[in-house]
Every structure is written in C-alpha cells, then in structure tokens.
C-alpha cells in the first residue's frame, strides 16, 4: 500500500518534471538564442548568451523595417476583430429576437461556414478576388478597390471568414438572456437599436470578450490568408517571418528574434489576461 502511494507520487513528479522541461527548453532557447550571435549559437548551444547582444533585433528593425509589418499586423488584427464582433453581435441579436424557424435557419446558415475548411475555400476565393478587382477597376463609378496586397482587402476577407465562429459563440450565450426582457423593453417603446446596444451587448459581454480574444489570436497568428493575398505592402509579421526563413535558412538567432517579435505581444497579453485567454481559446475549440 505504502509503496504504491509512493510510486504514484513519484510517477506524478517525474512526469511533471519531464513535461515541464519539454515545454520550457524550446521556449527558453528562443529567448536566449535571439540574444546570441550566430557564432555563439553554433559554438555554445547550451550556454546562456554572454554577453547578450541586441544585434539580431537591430538587424530586423533597422535593416529590414520589421516595424512596418508589425503595424500591418496590428491594424489587420484590430480592424478585423472590431468588425467581426460588431457584425456578429448584430446577427446574434437578430437571431435571438426573431426566434422560431427563421432564427434557426439564420443560425444554421452562419454555422454552415464552420464546416467549410479553409483549403476548400481558398481556390475559388482567389478566383473571385481576381474577378472582383477587375470589375472594380473597369466600372468608373466604383472605387478602385484592391484585395491583393492591400490591408482593407485582407480585412474584408478575414472578417467574412471569421463571422461564422463568432456568431456561433455569441449566439449560444445571447440565447440564455430571457426573451421577456426584450419583449418588455419593446412594449415600453424601445427601438431595436437601443435594445441591441443597451441590453443585448452589455449582457453578453463574457462571450464577446471570449470571442474577441479568440479572434485576436487567430488573426494575429494567421499565415494562410496573408500568404495568399499580400505582397510587400500589406505583409504581416507572420509573412515576414516566412520570408526570413527563406533568406536566412538556418540563421536561427535572427529567426528567433523574429519569433520573439511575433510572440511577445500575445504572450504579455496572455500573462495579464490569463483567465480570459483560456476561456476564449477553449470556447473557440468547442465549436465543432
């Protein structure tokens, strides 16, 4: 009996120790190697950087202007998340207010998007975007809207793709608000816009926060759509990182400085808003 208990404790401790090392070593390698020269990295892979150097970061920001891509990623993420949350809360509100079979139909229509994998969509989407661009260019009364290598274009595409998941998360929550609340407010002469802005949205805040964090992480980290639709001008951080890989092959110190730049904003936000991040990313993964 005693022995089994001791074995259990030991098994637990050993497993936790091993897994902690497996998680931690790659993360610490990134931090430490990003502060090394290539020479140090090759000669002393297991040592701490001595002395630490910021040359890799200087190269990335000064020589390659990484800050431009940082700003692109920031604008893309911010605008996409704000628009997705705005449009999807409106849809969720309408679904809850209308109810009945029309509500179910709308919910089903938007949820259907969850079942379409990106790989099914990207080819026809690319074809469509090319066509739309030439229409916008040929019709004089339309603005010359670009989808390729333009941030507004990329934002429109990301917003459209991400509506489904957001509608799914937020509607699930908004449905739990008692219908009587809206009906009573409507009796008192409140407009739909008022009820949306002053009742539905504030009362759904927990799910909106979850969805917003989930979307932030997805958009900030996305590679596929930037890979398809951006060139030099609208390049995002993840895309810039891909380019460096091609250029630097196995100059890992400089690549790791890039990895740090992409990761640090999210990691800091995670450390401060831990509970929200975990709730958000879990609600996103439960969609299926």
């Amino acid at each position: 009996m005693f022995r089994t208990v001791r074995r259990w404790i030991n098994l637990r401790t050993i497993s936790l120790f091993v897994f902690t090392v497996v998680i931690l070593v790659p993360l610490l390698t990134v931090v430490s190697a990003s502060l090394k020269t290539m020479r140090q990295y090759v000669m002393e892979p297991l040592r701490l950087p001595s002395p630490p150097t910021f040359d890799n970061y200087r190269d990335l920001f000064v020589d390659y202007g990484l800050h431009r891509y940082f700003v692109n990623s920031l604008v893309l993420t911010f605008c996409t998340v704000v628009l997705v949350i705005l449009f999807s809360t409106m849809v969720s509100y309408a679904i809850v207010r209308v109810g009945g079979w029309i509500g179910t139909l709308l919910f089903g229509l938007f949820s259907a998007g969850l079942m379409i994998p990106a790989q099914v969509n990207i080819i026809p989407l690319y074809g469509l975007v090319v066509k739309l661009e030439s229409w916008f260019a040929s019709a004089a009364w339309l603005p010359d809207l670009k989808f390729r290598d333009s941030l507004p274009g990329l934002i429109v595409i990301e917003v459209s793709i991400l509506l489904s998941i957001s509608v799914f998360i937020i509607t699930g929550f908004m449905k739990t608000i008692p219908r009587e609340l809206f009906e009573a407010a409507a009796m008192d002469g409140s407009s739909e816009w008022w009820m949306y802005a002053k009742l539905a949205v504030p009362l759904s805040m927990p799910s909106i926060a979850s969805a917003a964090i989930f979307l932030c992480v997805i958009v900030w980290n996305d590679l596929l759509y930037p890979l398809l639709f951006t060139g030099e001008k609208a390049k995002t951080l993840t895309m810039a990182l891909m380019m460096f890989r091609g250029e630097y092959e196995s100059n890992f110190p400089i690549l790791f400085a890039g990895v740090m730049t992409v990761s640090l904003p999210m990691v800091l936000a995670y450390l401060f808003l831990q509970r929200w991040f975990i709730a958000g990313l879990t609600s996103g993964s439960l969609k299926g």
Partner: protein, 289 residues
Amino acid sequence: MKPSKGIYLFVLPALILYGIFVLYPAFYGLYVSFTNWDGLSAGYEFVGFRNYRNLLMYDTIFAKSVVNNLKFMLFVVIGQTTLSLVFALFLVRNTKANIALRTLYFLPTILASVSVAFIWAAMYDSNFGMIKAILGLFGVQNGPGWLADPDIAIYSVAFAQVWAHTGQLMIIFIAGLQAIPADLFEVAAIEGASKFQTFRLVTWPLIAPAAAIVIAYTTLQSFKAFDLVFAMTRGGPNNATEIIATFIYRLAFQSYKFGYASAASMLFLVFVAAITIIQFKLLRTDRTG
C-alpha cells in the same frame, strides 16, 4: 411583441460579406473542380470527372499526402489525448503550483504556428540543433535526422503539434474533471476502490463526453495543420511531410492547376466529413455501451 421587419437590417452586413466570400466560393469551387482552369486565363474547358479520376487513380503524391495525413492524425490524436488527460489528472486540484504549471503548459497554444514551426525546425536541425546538442551531452553522436529522414519526418512535425496544443486540451479535461461531484470520490474511497478502479468506474465514464470533444477537435485540427507543415518543411523532403492541405495549396498556387486542386479540395471535404461521421458514431456507442 414581435420585432419589426427592420430587424433584418441587423443581419444584412454580415450576410453580404458571408454570402460573397464564404458561401459563393464554396459552390463555385465545386464547379471549378469539373474544369481545367489554370486560375489566370479567362478560358477553360469542362472536363467532367477527369480531375477526380486522375486524383484517385493515378496521382501517387495525392495518395501519399492522404496517408501522411492519416499518420499525422493518429500520432496527434493519440499523443495529445493521452498526455492532456494524464496531466489534467495530475493538475486537477487548484493549488498554486498546479495553476502555475497549467499556465506554462497552455502557453504554446497562443504562439503562431509559424513560430512553433521555426522553434522545432531549430530544435531538430541536423547541424546546430538543440536536440543534437543535448544528445551530445550523453555521448550520442549520430542521432536520427528528425526532419531529414523521410520515414520519421511526419512524426517529428506531429510532435511539434502535440507540444503546442496539449495544454489547451488539458484545460478542457480539467474543466470536465472539476465538474465531477466530490462525494463520488468519497464513496469510492469508503468502498475501498484503488486509484485505478476509481478512474475506470467513476472518473472515466463522467469525462467521456469531454474526451469525445477533445478527440473530435484534435482530429479536425490535424487536417487543418497547413501553417505548421508549410512553415516547417513545405511538405518535404520528397513529399514525406505533404499533407492534403499543403498538397492543395501547392497544386493551386505553385502549379496553377486550379481545377485539379479544386477537385482535391472537394475530396478533402468529403474525407473530413466521413471521418467526422465515423468518429461521431464510434464515440456515441462508446458512451452508451
């Protein structure tokens, strides 16, 4: 009081975007899959089922990417589900140390797949890789070529996926475990059940639904692992890590075979749907039986 017709204005902006950029392409893709469109020129021919027939009967790289995807899926589903369940059991109590470890284990989830890919490419690197350096401490000089050896490369990539997402799934299990009423464990203890018996008879039946969610999610995830594979190996060496998603991307955007790639993406959709349905049935009977 029924809402007025104006309520439909709330749906309008989302519906326009969703209709144009999600629903329409899905159907358009089905149409394109029956053509030989190259994505650039205006003209193309209707070729019937030829793309599908070629893919299924003659394309060895497509077959290879399906097999690779299944290997990747099995490794990730088994590895990730087991590890996340085990560590959920270890860390279920809300002590300070446990919460700190959960925070750490969850952290890779928020990294971009591109970052995860680069981190592990560096770990595996055959010249200056960290794994090589660590093995060197133990006197191992000729370690395996993690990403260079076509026989194991796909599993090396799959391990990076497990590394990145185990913590996230562990949280789902912990939520499931904490929802189990404590008196059930007390009863089991009074009845003299061993740890293993308690797990088999009390814990497992009650977290089976969480396990079903974890397995279903992980399966889908392993078909969507485009970013990770593309950033890490681009499908190489010699198509050894090609999965269906990277295969489709390369066909369409590097070889400009839009029609052919669309047919592959339709097969991909059927494939994912079939696996989802099979899994749903299996996990269902598991729960009732």
